[in-house]
């Protein structure tokens, strides 16, 4: 259990059976009154936020949250299988849970998986991944402008916006945090 004086920005706590991270924290104390610990909490699963004020007598649960480094291994229908880099233990995560992140999984990519009570609640991919463009309209010859974009498809069907000079067969770098094109990868 945490006591309120342990609370600080970035600390993970459990409230009502859910894992939360403290996104804002302020110690308050009306002159003659009791100390108060005001927190803004962000739910680590749903992302919703709430405000909560603790008094010195309150106790706060420590959540059973662990982060593991895992390789993405292979796809099995609706599930993606990750394997723990230390124990080789496998964890299956559904496509629905991963959302768009599923499009940016590359075999052997080193990811960070956050578990709450043994259940995965978040997957952090490598910031940049490289993917091949399989379909895009040819850009005008010699057009190297980077501020004009056109749609392009990855080999898994995901569509991104790329500059006009990108051609089918090009390898591009994608920022997995935003899902957006970052730069063209020069072929060796």
């Amino acid at each position: 259990m945490y006591s309120p004086s342990d609370l600080r920005k970035g600390l993970k706590v459990e409230v009502d059976g859910q894992p939360w991270v403290i996104s804002e924290f302020e110690f308050c104390k009306p002159g003659k009154g009791t100390a108060l610990y005001r927190c803004r909490l962000k739910n680590m699963v749903s992302g919703v936020t709430m405000e909560k004020t603790y008094r010195p007598v309150d106790r706060i649960e420590v959540p059973n949250v662990e982060e593991h480094e895992m390789y993405y291994s292979y796809n099995e229908g609706e599930f993606y299988v990750f394997s723990n880099t230390e124990t080789y233990e496998e964890t299956r995560i559904s496509k629905e849970f991963l959302g768009d992140k599923a499009y940016f999984l590359i075999e052997e990519a080193l990811c960070k998986v956050l578990f709450f009570n043994g259940k995965p609640i978040d997957v952090t991919l490598p910031v940049f991944i490289e993917k091949k463009i399989v379909e895009t309209d040819p850009g005008a010859r010699g057009d190297t402008a980077t501020n004009v974009l056109k749609p392009a498809k990855l080999d898994n069907g995901y569509e991104i916006q790329v500059p006009l000079f990108i051609n089918e067969g090009d390898l591009v770098k994608i920022d997995t945090r935003t899902g957006q094109y970052s730069e063209r990868v020069n072929k060796a």
Partner: protein
């Protein structure tokens, strides 16, 4: 490229604020001098702090660091000093945050034969004088608000503040142990931020060391000053009746014991002063680091203090 450590650069960047803080101390002393107040110094290490429910003293060998100079200054009132003030460090264990440090600079002043509203009028003149010396148009810019010291200050009773802003009576809030939380969550944010605000007349349960009002025994002669939503000062029409004072201390000692808080020895010399007679007086304690924050638009107390 600078190789200075961040801790040094932070002090360098605070120069303007330290100059404003120094200007504040200079003008406060000038004001008190002109009002014939005597500057006094009482010990920082004391035998027995005033027992308060929620204020923790720091131990120092078999002494305590004072949480306020209150009891020592009241001993001086009993000895015939009628207008006194003190500027010096006080210590409150476990207080650390954007507006709090364990060690902070306190201004405390007492006037015999003045009631708590007369002390408010002195306080108003004092801060208007400091503002006229240090702030353009007597207006502070603090945490996004413009606070005009020269405009009429807002005075609101604790009962009205709870009824208007918290939707519950102050008495019910106390009964449900919600007073402090509602004060912080509902009332402080709702207070006006364009002029200094005074909340006055606290329910008797929260009278602390103030005497009860002669015409309404359910209220204590106590006010608190807020500037830009930040609590700056606390004032009492001082309780000087020996039996009542000892009874309130006894309650606090019992509370501290049952809450397993640090136990303090009883302040015998202060009891002597009570028995020999403290004249009817009012007193105010003001956080000078916080006042310097308001005058220099500091978001965090670390910008006006070296820690």
């Amino acid at each position: 490229m600078s190789t200075k450590p961040d801790s040094i650069r932070k002090i360098e960047s605070s120069r303007g604020r330290f100059e404003i803080k120094a200007g504040l101390l200079f003008s406060l002393r000038a004001f008190f001098g002109a009002e014939s107040f005597l500057e006094v110094n009482t010990p920082v290490r004391i035998k027995a702090p005033a027992p308060e429910e929620y204020i923790e003293a720091v131990s120092s060998e078999d002494f305590f660091l004072r949480t306020s100079p209150e009891l020592e200054m009241k001993r001086m009132l009993a000895s015939g000093f009628e207008k006194i003030y003190q500027i010096g460090p006080c210590f409150r264990s476990g207080e650390y945050g954007r507006n709090h440090r364990t060690e902070f600079l306190m201004l405390e002043y007492y006037q015999a034969h003045a009631d708590y509203m007369q002390l408010l009028s002195l306080t108003t003149r004092m801060l208007r004088f400091a503002a006229s010396e240090l702030l353009p148009d007597m207006t502070a810019f603090f945490r996004g608000n413009r606070i005009n010291f020269n405009a009429p200050w807002e005075i609101i009773s604790v009962r009205d503040a709870f009824a208007n802003y918290a939707g519950i009576s102050a008495e019910d809030a106390i009964r449900q142990e919600l007073f402090d939380i509602l004060l912080v969550e509902k009332i402080e944010p709702a207070l006006r931020k364009d002029v200094p605000v005074v909340m006055k007349d606290y329910p008797a349960e929260l009278a602390s060391l103030s005497r009860l009002k002669a015409d309404d025994g359910t209220l204590g002669e106590r006010w608190e000053l807020y500037i830009g939503g930040l609590e700056i000062a606390n004032a009492f029409g001082e309780l000087t009746a020996p039996a009542e004072q000892k009874a309130r201390f006894k309650k606090s000692y019992e509370f501290r014991k049952s809450a397993k808080m640090k136990e303090y020895p009883e302040p015998q010399e202060f009891y002597d002063a009570l028995v020999s007679g403290i004249p009817s007086s009012s007193g105010c304690a003001m956080g000078l680091d916080r006042l310097a924050m308001v005058f220099s638009d500091a978001d965090d107390i670390s910008q006006v203090i070296l820690q």
